[in-house]
């Protein structure tokens, strides 16, 4: 009798993830405290933000209609971005093969493995723009710096993916090929390569797409490509030309993504 009274008559949705309602409210309280703290340290000027709204309208008004009259400049920048992305992907892919082997736990010696992984982590941490700054310092302004930046980040990215694929290789095929009396090179070509090839091609296509995207920003620090044109047009308040560039970038990126999805679906 008394047990029946302890069941609630109304259903309340239990909180997701937290298990108990108390922990849920503690989390909410923590979030509120965090926002109170962070917003107070950021000294956000509400007045200036509100002043920004009419300015936003003004900028958008000046962006419409987009100015495609400097088509030559636009086309040159886009083409440079594409070439940078393409060449960087290829260079990165070729260099990624030794790096991937060095960073695979199951074939590389321990010190080589650790060094390769450290190199990958170090490179992945820094945003492309930071790396681009250094290449601009070393090689001067222009597409070379951009090419090398993208090649470096493609190198480490593809190397990491390849290493993970090699680590997941099935030993059965390797032993089967080895049992026919094949040497090391033959073993790699006939048992490891077929297992990692299709995934690696997928990674490369993805990386090409990512490089097209990144090539549109590293120009901001002077590393060539359409980003340089865009950054210049913003600093000259040339908003209608900037709008044209933004539209072209969006179209290129969307196209690249669609192409990358299409190829990877075909590969599967």
């Amino acid at each position: 009798m008394s047990a029946a009274a302890s069941y609630p008559t109304h259903w309340r949705r239990p909180p997701a993830f937290f298990g108990t309602r108390r922990r849920y409210w503690l989390f909410i309280g923590g979030v509120i405290l965090y926002f109170a703290w962070s917003l107070s340290t950021l000294n956000i000027d509400v007045e200036r933000m509100l002043a920004g709204l009419p300015r936003a309208l003004d900028i958008f008004a000046r962006m419409v209609p987009p100015d495609f009259s400097k088509g030559q400049l636009l086309l040159k920048g886009m083409l440079e971005s594409l070439q940078m992305a393409f060449a960087a992907t290829l260079i990165g892919a070729i260099l990624a093969v030794p790096l991937g082997i060095a960073a695979a736990r199951n074939i590389a010696p321990r010190p080589v493995y650790l060094a390769a992984r450290g190199f990958i982590v170090l490179n992945r941490t820094f945003h492309e723009i930071i790396i681009a700054i250094f290449f601009v310092k070393l090689f001067g302004f222009g597409a070379v710096a951009g090419l090398l930046t993208l090649a470096l980040s493609s190198w480490t990215f593809c190397g990491k993916m390849l290493a993970e694929d090699i680590e997941n290789v099935r030993m059965g095929q390797i032993e089967a090929v080895r049992a026919t009396g094949a040497g090391f090179a033959q073993t790699v070509v006939f048992s490891v390569v077929p297992q990692v090839l299709s995934r690696t091609v997928g990674v490369l296509i993805y990386r090409l797409d990512a490089n097209v995207r990144h090539s549109t920003v590293i120009g901001i620090v002077g590393a060539g490509g359409i980003g340089q044109t865009l950054s210049a047009s913003f600093s000259r308040y040339d908003y209608d030309f900037a709008a044209a560039i933004l539209l072209c970038i969006a179209a290129l990126v969307a196209l690249g993504e669609w192409f990358s999805d299409w190829v990877r679906r075909k590969l599967r």
């Binding site: 083409l79 820094f126 310092k137 090689f139 222009g142 995207r213 549109t216 980003g227 933004l246």
Partner: protein, 268 residues
């Protein structure tokens, strides 16, 4: 007898003649495209001849790191994390309605679906730093522009993945809730949202650690965070400070990556 035997070659070949030719054609096409890309970039090869000397010179100027600069960058470091966190939080809030708008099974009609999809494409195809250029022009330099650009880029990223998971949601719970007489809003809230919650939270946490990395460079375009100090130090040729800033960025990016991986491992 004789003809049947002739069909099988004596020596095993991995590829047929046709496959070999097509593989070589692909390779040739790729090589031609690579050569075209690299030659069109008009690279100044002279810069390569002394690049290693420049790099050594730069490394010497960076050493030893000027640790006395560290107290100056603590504030901007915290600001960088705040920009990433608040930006991601805003994106989290806006991504849910956008995802419902852009998912084929929850959107109102094909017109609203097209609006949702094009918002996704616009948000995703413009890089965070380019959003930064735009928002600095609107709000003026400072963390507000950074927060807005992180949010603008992340909302499409989150909403795309959540929309895909809404489209794949199990019909069972939805029908169960519909059969209790619940309205559309209740069905979405109780039938679909709990199913996509793990994806939503997991992607948000993942995006947050990408955003920490992205907000480390937002300062280059004036959108707040540590990038401002990094850019200033580079422009003053204060390379010993640059090393300190890079070490600090390395630390916060690695920490946020570890934290994000830990949370994602807990919730999935």
């Amino acid at each position: 007898m004789n003809t049947a035997a002739r069909r099988y070659p004596e020596i095993w070949q991995r590829r047929s003649l046709r496959e070999t030719i097509s593989a070589w054609l692909w390779t040739a096409a790729l090589a031609a495209a690579a050569v075209w890309s690299i030659t069109m970039l008009d690279i100044e090869w002279a810069f390569f001849s002394d690049a290693h000397l420049q790099a050594i010179d730069l490394a010497e100027r960076m050493w030893p790191p000027r640790w006395s600069y560290l107290p100056v960058i603590i504030g901007p470091l915290i600001e960088t994390i705040h920009i990433a966190t608040i930006g991601t939080a805003i994106a989290y809030v806006f991504s849910v309605p956008l995802a419902f708008l852009a998912a084929r099974n929850t959107t109102l009609n094909s017109f609203t679906w097209a609006i949702g999809r094009s918002l996704l494409v616009i948000s995703r195809s413009v890089n965070t730093v380019i959003w930064g250029l735009l928002f600095v022009a609107i709000f003026g330099p400072g963390p507000v522009a950074g927060i807005a650009s992180v949010a603008a880029r992340s909302v499409g990223f989150l909403a795309k993945l959540v929309a895909e998971s809404i489209e794949e949601a199990d019909r069972g719970p939805v029908e169960a809730i519909e059969s209790t007489g619940a309205g559309t809003g209740q069905v979405y809230l109780l039938g679909i949202l709990p199913q996509v919650m793990p994806v939503l939270v997991g992607t948000t946490v993942y995006r947050w650690d990408i955003n920490v990395r992205e907000s480390s460079v937002l300062g280059f375009v004036g959108a707040g965070g540590i990038g401002l100090q990094l850019y200033a130090s580079i422009n003053q040729f204060a390379w010993q400070q640059v090393l300190v800033v890079l070490a600090a960025i390395l630390l916060i990016v690695l920490l946020s990556e570890a934290l994000s991986a830990y949370i994602r491992a807990r919730i999935t």
